[in-house]
Symmetry: C2
């Protein structure tokens, strides 16, 4: 570990604030004296959840949702923002009910991922949901999402669709597959 | 496939533009008539590359780099922005030389990931780099990056460090492990 002395913060300032995004400019001095100006997106302090809902031991439920950033429908795992003060597992259960019409009796926090640690503060908690039961709640989706079951032993075909390429969803479904294999003693 | 008719774009407008970020506001009308206002980050048209540099058949080279977004050092795969007009494989080779001091004789595009398709246009090309040779070029890093070799058959220990949690890096190293297993006929 060569350089674990963190850079010194010289100045921080919010330079843009829209309805969704807040951009902070940072001036940093590294341990070797180099000064650099960065910008980062300030996310909500509470972060987001992304859920792997297992309808059986081998099958996850994906959603096909319109993704305004890329301007097309995409296959993804259900996800959403954590509301203020809401425990992540509760947020996961709520988002599942809103997006796919299921709750889960067993919710497990697997890990926490960052989207772009170089310029975002945003954290996403990855939640494995098992023992599902039907329960639908109304969310803020502009239209119902199509639910697409997919077996974890068939990930190459999922990637080959070209529709499933959100980095967090890809990372999470691999992790769920590893857990499913471990559970089966493989 | 229930609802592949894309929403109609009613209005688009750039509402913030900083040194690094450009925020576009979109008004969309979904097929069912629901109108929604979104914001998305406009990325560079050329996107980014993220590289899995294989120093041998089982060992990838990671970097430990200060990540200003989360304000801490992180373990990640080497990555960087594609320069205007630069082919992605050339960008991958250049970023490797700048960040870890190696070029690669064999570069393979594995897939293209999005970070947040719901509110970013940004695309990251995932490149497997093999047959490495030492070559150092000066990049724009404020300090030299520590290079950390990691065996692909030991991913659970990597995740357990708590330092390797960037979603794109996690997704990419899983894909590289799958490819390495396939190459060995497992």
């Amino acid at each position: 570990m060569l350089m674990l002395k963190k850079p010194q913060l010289l100045h921080a300032e919010v330079v843009a604030h829209t309805q969704v995004f807040k951009v902070e400019q940072l001036d940093l001095r590294f341990a070797n004296g180099t000064e650099v100006r960065y910008e980062r997106l300030l996310g909500s302090q509470d972060g987001a959840v992304l859920i792997i809902p297992m309808i059986d031991e081998q099958t996850a439920l994906l959603v096909r949702e319109y993704a305004a950033g890329v301007g097309d429908y995409q296959l993804m795992l259900p996800k959403g923002r954590i509301e203020k003060g809401e425990p992540p597992l509760d947020a996961a259960n709520r988002e599942m009910m809103e997006e796919i019409g299921y709750g889960a009796s067993k919710l497990t926090h697997i890990t926490t991922l960052s989207q772009a640690p170089s310029y975002q503060t945003h954290a996403t908690h990855i939640i494995l949901a098992e023992q599902l039961y039907p329960e639908k709640r109304q969310g803020d989706e502009p239209e119902p999402l199509e639910v697409v079951p997919w077996r974890l032993d068939n990930l190459p075909e999922l990637f080959a669709t070209g529709e499933f390429n959100e980095a967090r969803s890809v990372a999470a479904i691999y992790m769920a597959r590893d857990l499913a294999l471990t559970a089966r003693g493989q």
